[in-house]
Symmetry: C2
Subunit: 228 residues, 2 copies
């Protein structure tokens, strides 16, 4: 008989979705309508289905609960401390996601539960061990930003260098020198200038760039390591 004699825990996915707007770095939370932690805010997520891969479950739950569909997603870590859910043993596979708030203007209230963006440094108490998960995701975001060209996931396809710099400054919580930053980011060769400039601004219009993902993949295969 080919089967596991051991008791099976519940398995869920939870997503830490980051976005960036003028107010800074935001995280997407949903308000729970059921016990335990009814009315508390929590990371979007839910039970996996048995015929779905883990990443698919994460995308499905996000779409159902928040309407967010187009995003960068990667696995963060798995949390399974006994007692983290008062009902039963629940293992949760946490995902880390980035969504482009500027372009898609995601309205998170399309789902069944109420969802909202909170500043990461001023978010409400969270259900379960979700604070722990959020903190880990934030550390991961800061660390990955430095050695992977991940930041562009926050931006629209066409962006200015100032937008990129502000992004880094906001997430890393540190000021950066404009000239040095531009030199560094341009010498990677990963940004290609477009034949377009910003529009509708009350000052000199900035050059627009796009991120050349193909070039990055190519360089990466040759051992290139992005660093900012």
């Amino acid at each position: 008989m080919y089967s596991y004699e051991y008791p099976h825990p519940a398995v869920t996915v939870d997503c830490v979705v980051f976005g960036l707007d003028d107010g800074g770095l935001k995280v997407l939370l949903i308000q729970r309508d059921l016990e335990p932690f009814a009315l508390s805010w929590a990371l979007p997520g839910g039970s996996i289905k048995l015929d779905e891969d883990l990443g698919q479950s994460a995308r499905r739950e996000l779409a159902e609960e928040t309407g967010v569909t187009d995003l960068y997603l990667e696995q963060l870590a798995t949390f399974g401390k006994p007692g983290r859910d008062p009902r039963e043993r629940v293992i949760t596979v946490a995902y880390f996601a980035i969504v482009n708030l500027l372009e898609h203007k995601v309205s998170p209230d399309t789902g069944a539960r109420s969802a909202a963006w909170f500043p990461v440094d001023d978010s409400p108490p969270l259900a379960f061990d979700h604070r722990l998960i959020l903190d880990l995701a934030l550390m991961r975001l800061q660390s990955k930003l430095r050695n992977q060209p991940l930041g562009f996931e926050f931006l629209p396809e066409k962006f200015t260098l100032t937008q990129v710099q502000r992004l880094y400054e906001t997430i890393l919580c540190e000021g950066l020198d404009k000239r040095n930053f531009r030199k560094k980011i341009l010498t990677t060769g990963l940004l290609v200038p477009l034949d377009e400039v910003e529009i509708d601004v009350a000052h000199r219009a900035a050059q627009l760039y796009r991120f050349d993902k193909e070039a990055y993949v190519r360089l990466q295969a040759q051992g290139y390591a992005f660093e900012i």
Copy 2:
């Protein structure tokens, strides 16, 4: 009623345990005695218990199957593709471990199943998706080695600079300049020279060092980032 209506998958842990000896980088595998994949080699691991944290499960399984107890352990990633186990849906939380082969001379045959160390670049076909897990672990090892002082986990408490250099060369698969390597590793301030030298060698005895973990933790808290 506070419970999950969703079907529960099986949850296991699997460990990629690395060790280093004169023959290079090794990985610890066990030979399966049951179907599926009977007689195939596989990563040590097994079902979690409902009252155990995930890391504890990993340590318990390792001790039971291979006798290995004293090791560095961290979570790697979770694999849950439907069909990865032909019996039923199984989510496995993979762990990444390093054991000091030189000092402990682990005899992996103490467990119930036969266990053995294989060169990572010459290991047998593996059961399930364990090849995928091993490959990820190897990439993680190489990448972490560069920006965390993780390599010392492979070595005895007292070691020579040449041992450290050989370790880096073996795992990163690249030659390193002796003088530059020594300069770099010593200027971190994380290695403290002991009042001892190597013994029983047929040539000039080398200075012994130990890794100052406390210093690392202290520096890390101040924003220091190890890099080699």
